[in-house]
């Protein structure tokens, strides 16, 4: 079975996110002063071949821990689609 996995990697809260700040500033300039708390992260999608959804998620979690996210500075969220 192949499962589509969506990974969302975000800078850890509390760490300075200059990209988020720059985007927030630009939104304000554009006439969206209501935009606040902007943070910029990264989305990664992949197919994971696994015998079960739980197994696919476990493997994807390992991929995040080892490569897709930096445990020092980033947090990630995983979503596994039903095939």
């Amino acid at each position: 079975m192949s499962y589509r996995v969506h990974v969302r990697v975000m800078p850890r809260s509390g760490l300075l996110d200059p990209q988020g700040q720059a985007v927030e500033h630009a939104l304000g300039e554009l006439g969206f002063p209501e935009a606040a708390g902007v943070r910029v992260g990264r989305a990664i999608e992949l197919e994971v071949a696994a015998p079960s959804r739980a197994e696919a998620e476990a493997r994807a979690r390992l991929m995040c821990d080892k490569l897709l996210a930096n445990p020092v500075t980033e947090d990630y969220l995983l979503e596994v689609e039903e095939p």
Partner: protein, 239 residues
Amino acid sequence: MLDVAVVRFPGSNCDIDTVLAVEAAGARPELVWHRETDLRGADVVILPGGFSYGDYLRAGAIARFSPVMQAVQRHAAEGGPVLGICNGFQILCEAHLLPGALLRNAGLAFVAKPVDVVVERSDTPFTSTYAPGERLRLPVAHGDGRFAAADDTLRLLEAEGRVVLRYVAATEGSPLQPNPNGSANHIAGICNAAGNVVGIMPHPERAAEPLVGSTDGRGFFASLAAWQPESFIPKASSR
């Protein structure tokens, strides 16, 4: 004469400058391609600056998995000196040979200019020819140089005196600004607990010839050329 492996990753661009600086200091440099699995008996390893793998994902994140990095890990574990310059520093952090991470500059812009740093550790294999507290003017050239680490890691680095280089305000009257990237505690370079693995953001290989305006960086290469394996006793520790 010491053998110095300068590792070349796809996207390295300071490798030749590094080789020339090593050679000028009187050691024997050899370029080692990142696919290789051993360091050919090198005494010292340098991971040079550049943009390995185009900085894809995160700077240094993919180079860390190059085959040669296993040999670098072994070399470091045995107490062999390893210097990471700029992208090399980023790779050492991603490889967990050094703690922390290097994030996008606080000002977002790529910063390429001379900065002033102070040498806080002169007992590493790469800084032994400098005096403690010596000030250097070295070029930086990076987009991701903001050193960050968990608070307890920062406290540990400071408590153990593992900050090798720190950005300092230039001498009075100079227009140069300290801390070009917003790094924690103005950190420009650190070492591991044993002191044999050193990572720095500034480029000493770009300040090793009078022709380019500064020779302040020569000491890094003079130090490694003078390094004697038997004289260096790594401090015992986990990392």
